[in-house]
């Protein structure tokens, strides 16, 4: 009885943490907002007296890039799911001085085993929902197809093994996970060249994804000073520092700008084993 009770309590705490995190993403709650980390995981047991919250903002200076129309004429069923403006890309969303789809995670921290809940990645009207998501090492990613047509989900990580699975009908589900941390794992649909998603894999629950209003929330962070890294597919990566106090809310902001378009965007860091003249050396770095 006692152990069952404890289990229930810990589940409730975990559920509460998830709800809190979902609340953090609620800024991105409108249907056009595609950013978000899904059900962001939380450590199994959290003592509220030792943790705080990171409340962050991704600023964007300069001219916002114009929304990009997608030519979906080849898939009328998908195109029909959009309003009079037609299908628009959800990849790069910058408006009102804020930038969406930025993956933020703490570095140099580890956070216990992956939660049992799955992170969702959906394919809806020939776009990935969400476009950027975070997941813990070993955590299940439930990939579903809401479109009644062929998608393939082609993940090309470099630290982890990839996969490339077809889902030719609505309702098919594939379950995948990554055993190693990797920021980010690119995912694409080769049938629809415009479909791209990015999965940030970290070995702790301290991450978030900015919504259309540029905000993100990372709850239940143990008190301490951390380095946080931000990643965006078009404007690159940057890092910052944040100090979390128990019971407090720390603010963290990253300043992106239109000048950073075309920046180097790190994608994983493949470990290359080189066979040099003097035996083997390990070389880290982009290989292509």
């Amino acid at each position: 009885m006692r152990s069952e009770f404890l289990k229930k309590v810990s589940v409730l705490v975990a559920a509460g943490a998830m709800a809190a995190c979902g609340g953090g993403d609620s800024g991105g709650g409108d249907p056009g907002g595609d950013a978000g980390g899904g059900e962001a995981p939380a450590a199994a047991q959290v003592d509220p007296a030792t943790v705080g919250t990171i409340s962050g903002t991704i600023n964007f200076a300069g001219d916002s890039p114009a929304p990009t129309a997608i030519d979906m004429s080849a898939e009328a069923d998908c195109a029909a799911g959009y309003g009079p403006d037609g299908p628009m890309s959800n990849n790069v969303i910058a408006a009102n001085g804020r930038l969406a789809n930025v993956f933020v995670h703490l570095t140099g921290v580890s956070g216990g085993p992956a939660p049992s809940g799955s992170v969702q990645l959906d394919q809806e009207n020939c776009r990935y929902m969400p476009h950027v998501l975070g997941v813990q090492v070993g955590q299940n990613i439930e990939i579903t197809n809401s479109d009644d047509l062929l998608h393939n989900i082609n993940a090309s990580p470099t630290e982890n093994r990839g996969f490339n699975i077809s889902q030719p009908r609505a309702g098919i589900t594939s379950n995948q996970s990554f055993p190693l941390a990797e920021v980010m794992v690119p995912v694409r649909c080769d049938v629809h060249g415009w479909m791209q998603a990015y999965i940030g894999v970290v070995d702790h629950p301290y991450f978030g994804v900015s919504g259309p209003d540029g905000s993100f929330t990372i709850p239940n962070v143990p008190a301490g000073t951390y380095t946080a890294e931000a990643w965006h597919e078009a404007y690159g990566a940057m890092s910052g520092s944040v100090t979390v106090t128990a019971g407090g809310t720390a603010t963290l902001s990253f300043d992106y700008s239109s000048d950073m378009a075309g920046a180097h965007v790190p994608l994983g860091e493949p470990l290359v084993i080189r066979h040099g003249e003097h035996g083997i050396e390990v070389h880290r770095g982009a290989q292509d």
Binding site: A74, S110, I165, D190, V191, G279
Partner: protein, 515 residues
């Protein structure tokens, strides 16, 4: 946190140490690899050898251990047997040959060395093949069910309705490194890199081809969209889409004498009774700019005559009906990533769009005179002293006749050659017709005498123009005589001898060009 980092560091040391041990023990593998593999795959297994940029698809990057031909699940490592199979037979349709010159032990050494480029082999458990079940068998009903599965799994999105690699998504396909890659032409099963048997195809459908857009259909099967039997039937259907083996090369197009009238166009049912002859094309690699990866790898030729006129039907597979703006992205990627050997690709405009779209084209080449014996003009477009007589066709300009004095030089000639072409489902059908007797300039064909012919083809959407072509060596057309064909026996022997000689010459020239 610190202890985590420390653990990682220790683990890395252990890993590298173990790999170092393997490498020391595998000096044989290294020597063989450096000698035979590094030119394409790169000294460090990064798929970036000196010849890599002239290849489509690109050579494998061993450091990532993404292998196309496996018996293991999507994203899994291949088994040693999988790798041994590829070393034994190569990857058809690519530049990867089989290695019969290596002993089994040497191949095992190479495999160990290749595996040492990637940390994945050392890190994980030994990969296990999937359970592929058993083939319920072929037959007409199985083929019909397989055709349905082809639709259900939407194979046509990339491979096209007829399987010629011309699906809607084909122009945008790229491999995991961003290099352009073709959807396989399923009607040329002999060029499927994983093999042409029903078993091979079934395995590829369920495992996918890692590193390429070809996904694994295993989740679709496990969720009941198609049954395990239907996946086997799909494999039977795909294997039935074209000849399993590369068509036998027969040197001579026998131009039959028509019993009643010539076919009126390329779709005339009369062609059904006429034998088709297959001729392989290879990249033009003699003159700069060379083309190492031509789109068109072979053409089919049929001919018939009635004593005063002759008609030919020439067919070849080309997934793009050039010029076609749908293939702009493909063309731009080809020109940006392939070794163009000095070909100056036209610049893109400010929006990144292509500014030039080339047509598809084909050329039939003859001498101006029926040769006396084995002497023929230079096979690659003739020379100033010994020009060639050309039948030309392009999707922009239709048919014409010309005089060639070297490859790339065509002086138009007036003539009576007529022709029409139609592109359907990834295949061009060109109908040609001309009086047997030429006008002022051109070749008058003679019945019963073998007449040299050579072929060239261009796929405009892959940036093929001018010398960037697919070419053949000399072959022959032979207009059948009315009563008896006993007269042709001696010339046929001569043909076979000179044909073999020509082939050796071309191979040598190609070998030199590559070296």
């Amino acid at each position: 946190m610190r202890s985590g980092t420390l653990l990682k560091t220790i683990a890395t040391f252990l890993l590298v140490g173990a790999a170092g041990l393997v490498a020391q023990e595998n000096e044989n593998g290294r020597v063989l690899y450096d000698r035979w593999c590094a030119e394409c795959h790169g000294a460090e297994g990064l798929g970036d050898g000196s010849a890599a940029a002239s290849m489509l698809p690109r050579p494998r990057t061993f450091s990532q251990a993404r292998y196309q031909v496996r018996t293991t699940g999507s994203g899994q490592l291949p088994t040693d047997d999988d790798l041994m199979h590829v070393l034994n037979v190569g990857l058809p349709g690519t530049t990867m040959p089989g290695w019969p010159n290596l002993s089994d032990q040497q191949k095992r050494d190479v495999i160990e060395y290749i595996k040492s480029f990637s940390r994945f082999f050392a890190a994980g458990p030994a990969p296990e093949p999937l359970d592929f079940g058993s083939d319920p068998g072929g037959g007409p009903e199985a083929l019909a069910a397989g055709a349905q599965a082809y639709l259900t799994l939407e194979c046509e999105a990339c491979h096209g309705a007829a399987g010629r690699g011309n699906g809607t998504s084909a122009p945008t396909l790229e491999d995991w490194r961003g290099f352009p890659i073709r959807a396989a032409d399923l009607t040329e099963a002999w060029a499927l890199n994983g093999g042409s048997s029903v078993n091979d195809i079934h395995t590829r459908v369920l495992t996918g081809l890692d590193g390429t857009p070809m996904p694994a259909a295993i989740d679709a099967m496990n969720s009941g969209v198609v049954s395990p039997d239907e996946v086997w039937q799909l494999a039977h259907y795909v294997a039935s889409m074209g000849p399993r083996e590369r068509p036998r090369l027969r040197e001579v197009v026998r131009v039959e004498r028509a019993s009643e009238g010539l076919p009126q166009d390329g779709s005339d049912e009369a062609w059904g009774d006429i034998e088709a002859f297959f001729f392989p094309l290879a990249g033009q690699v003699i003159e700069v700019p060379r083309n190492f990866a031509p789109t068109v790898d072979g053409i089919w030729v049929e001919g018939v005559h009635d004593g005063s006129e002759m008609a030919f039907r020439v067919q070849w597979n080309d997934p793009s009906r050039s010029p076609d703006s749908e293939w702009d992205e493909w063309q731009a990627k080809i020109l940006a990533t392939m070794d163009l050997d000095g070909f100056e690709a036209p610049a893109l405009d400010s929006t990144g769009a292509v500014t030039v779209r080339w047509p598809d084209a084909i050329r039939l080449q003859f001498p101006f005179e029926v040769p006396d014996g084995a002497e023929r003009p230079y096979f690659l477009g003739g020379t100033t002293r010994q020009p060639v007589y050309l039948w030309t066709w392009s999707s922009n300009d239709g048919v014409g006749e010309g005089r060639g004095r070297g490859y790339g030089s065509v002086e138009p000639l007036p003539g009576e050659l007529q022709g029409t072409a139609e592109w359907q489902d990834g295949r061009w059908t060109l109908y040609l017709r001309r009086p047997i007797a030429a006008g002022a300039d051109g070749l008058t064909f003679s019945e019963g005498v073998p007449i040299p012919v050579a072929f060239s083809a261009w796929d405009g959407s892959s940036g093929e123009t001018d010398k960037r072509a697919g070419v053949s060596s000399w072959y022959y057309v032979l207009l059948e005589q009315e009563p008896s064909n006993a007269v042709v026996v001696t010339p046929l022997i001569a043909i076979l001898l000179t044909g073999a000689f020509g082939l050796v010459l071309v191979r040598r020239a190609q070998g030199r060009a590559r070296a």
